[in-house]
Amino acid sequence: MQIDWTNFTPWSAAAGGVAIGLAAGLMILLLGRIAGVSGIVAGLLPPARGDVSWRVAFVLGLFASAALLRLAGAARTPVLDIGYGATILAGLLVGYGARLGGGCTSGHGVCGLSRLSPRALVATAAFMASGVLTVFVLRHMLG
């Protein structure tokens, strides 16, 4: 295995991770909710009476974070390096899979592992493995 030292950003990665962990911790301690983005978004499709405002507020907060960084001129623009057909397929798989599996990188990967949940560990191992395999096939077999 060869480390990509030019792109490796340990400090910002760890600092960002701590911020994510703090946010997930505040969510459970203040609101009693799991900060799982796919679950929070899916709860709005369609919205259920009395269970909307905290979800919308959280999603707006996510959106506002990058908007603020953009205004400050401090954000690198994310670019999808695939075509539109693949983009639609990727979106469908991410949305469908996250709901079928009951969570995504935030719900299982951050909150679930923090709860030491075996279920979340299995899910995280499964999506890490299939993610690695997918990139391997795309970059080293088809690419």
């Binding site: 991770g17 799991i34 996510l62 953009r70 954000a75 999808l80 991410v94």
Partner: protein
């Protein structure tokens, strides 16, 4: 506006800033982590490590409480089943994640860059979530 709603916005903001700072919002960074056979960028491992490190403490505190600090019910997940939907769903999710390099949290944050392709991704992701809900209804809530 309730305290919970304001808190949810602030938590979303912090979560999103964490995603931005850590590099999770960049598909190239995510793929660099998943590409273990190429020059490997381990950064996202540190994101997870930082987040779970803080999360472990928060969830340990949360576990003993029946109510969250703002008065809402403490809703810790009760499902502990490791079953086919969990593994299949997480695997499908991982394939989409590897294909696009985007998971639900970063997808919402990335919307702030107003890139048409990212908007298409989020629409497809929402469609995937709705499809899963529809499919579940179709099989009569067997799970």
């Amino acid at each position: 506006m309730s305290k919970s709603t304001i808190a949810a916005f602030a938590i979303g903001l912090l979560f999103g800033l964490g995603l931005c700072i850590s590099g999770m919002i960049l598909p190239s960074k995510v793929k660099g982590f998943l590409d273990v056979a190429g020059p490997w960028d381990p950064s996202l491992g540190l994101v997870m490590g930082g987040a779970v490190g803080v999360g472990l403490i928060a969830f340990r505190v949360a576990r003993g409480r029946s109510r969250a600090l703002l008065g809402d019910e403490m809703r810790l997940p009760t499902n502990q089943r490791i079953d086919a939907p969990l593994v299949i769903g997480a695997t499908i999710f991982g394939i989409g994640w590897g294909l696009g390099g985007v998971c639900p949290g970063p997808a919402i944050v990335d919307l702030a860059f107003l890139d048409p392709q990212m908007i298409v991704f989020v629409l497809a992701m929402s469609a995937g979530m709705a499809l899963e809900k529809g499919a579940r209804k179709l099989i009569g809530g067997a799970r």
